[in-house]
């Protein structure tokens, strides 16, 4: 069974977590520094989240999170199932394998994607914490 019953629940969990990350004094500046617009395209449920670290963000935020459609043109597009995305934020996806199996696709300059990987490492611990905080402990894996 899929982790998320619909797009709204995915936006609440992953989208909400991204919005927290946008305020994170550790991860935030490094992601901002990339100056990238990254769109995550999810399937099952169909949904999308865009991270905009290029345009100015609201006060207190290092970047902007947009759930659902947007007119922004992404520099990097990552597509995967929502379940893979959920597992990814627990640090439980081997990227090389996921790409080899076709579970994940990435379009855009590979170096800029690789540059972000060390920056987002703290997320693997923060995502489960966030889920507990919003009463979604049933999503823990």
């Amino acid at each position: 069974m899929a982790f998320f019953k619909d797009a709204a629940e995915l936006y609440e969990c992953i989208g909400g977590f991204f919005k927290e990350a946008a305020k994170d004094p550790d991860m935030g500046p490094k992601i901002r520094e990339s100056k990238l617009i990254i769109t995550f395209e999810y399937s099952a449920p169909d949904s999308r989240i865009t991270v905009d670290a290029k345009n100015p963000a609201a006060p207190g935020d290092f970047f902007t999170i947009i759930t659902g459609p947007t007119d922004l043109t992404p520099d990097v597009r990552m597509s995967m199932s929502a379940d893979i995305a959920h597992r990814f934020w627990f640090g439980k996806v081997n990227l090389v394998q996921a790409l080899a199996k076709g579970e994940m696709k990435a379009q855009g300059p590979i170096p800029s994607i690789l540059k972000l990987l060390p920056a987002i490492k703290p997320a693997y611990e923060l995502y489960p914490e966030y889920l507990k905080k919003i009463g979604k402990a049933d999503k823990l894996i």
Partner: protein, 385 residues
Amino acid sequence: MLPEYFDFYCRTRIVAGPGLAAGFGNELGRLGGSRAFIVTDRVVRDLGLLDPVVRSLAVGGLDVVGTFDDIPPNSGFGVVMQGVEACRTAGGDILIAIGGGSVLDTAKGMNIVLCLGGDIADYQGFGLINEPLRPLVAVPTTAGTGSEVTAYAVIRDDATRSKQSLVSPYLAADLAVLDPELTLGLPPALTASTGMDALTHAVEAYLSTNSKPISDGLALHACRIIARWLPAAVSSGDDLEARYQMLTASCVAGMAFSAAMVGCVHALAHALGGLFHVPHGLANALLLAGGMEYNLPAVEERLADLAAAFGVGPTGERSRDAAAAIRFVRELVARVGLPSCLREAGVPEDGLEEAAETACIDAAIYTNPREATPEELLEVLRKAF
């Protein structure tokens, strides 16, 4: 530890033998296509290496409709798009690439755009090319890149001065023709540096975090052949057997690293190629021993295996074997007459820092056995300077 998963894929039919460049005509029928477009460079053309291949094409019933030979050593996105234009104008429907790594990778890049449209820069990423492209025949004239069988095309993005990797199993050629006679005229320095590229593929594939049983076997065998035959290919360029062994080893190492990927030595070589146009094989040659040494704490056992493949082990003591493998590589570079340091290869000292930073975000770094920081890579560069 039992691995959770591995995969291995090689779609290329490989034919090999002395004189085969003139005799592979009967291989062409099953590939489809009747209008051959040749991708090569001027050096290859001036050496007359196209002639036997053109005879094979005639036997196979193919018309040669055009040739694109304007390809520099570190080919770029712009060159790929020029090649696409030339092929479209000529109406080619099967690509015949004859040359070294730059030529082969340019042809692969052209093939993507010819089939799928758009611009070559659009295809940077992973998992974007998921269907067979046009038939591609690869005839390598150097024994190094193994590009005829790999799932990669490494092409320079002129805008960012960086080497970009395009990835898909469909990039590997449909047919690879390995004719050692085509490599007889390679000068010693080029024989040495391209041979060291092949050795670096084998070593890094074996040490990669993405290594797997099938690539391990290929990598170790390539190490055995190269250790045994590279010095002869360099010192006696007309030794057909040495040439045959090196061309084969380059292909075997290509299959190994296509599946296992590479590591920090290639990441650094890509950076030095992109920033300062250091020839790829030479950069690898100058950094391989240092890269092995850097990775030693993570992969001592694997390095010790390499000593046996190189014929300098086993001694019964694994740490001594690992050190012997590194020493063997260092001595081999000197033995084949290559420059001994990056300074001699034209790298500016004040460029090392930028190279280390660039290497840290090169696709090749991701499967290095140690998670490398820019500071650590700078140290590897400094030691090789």
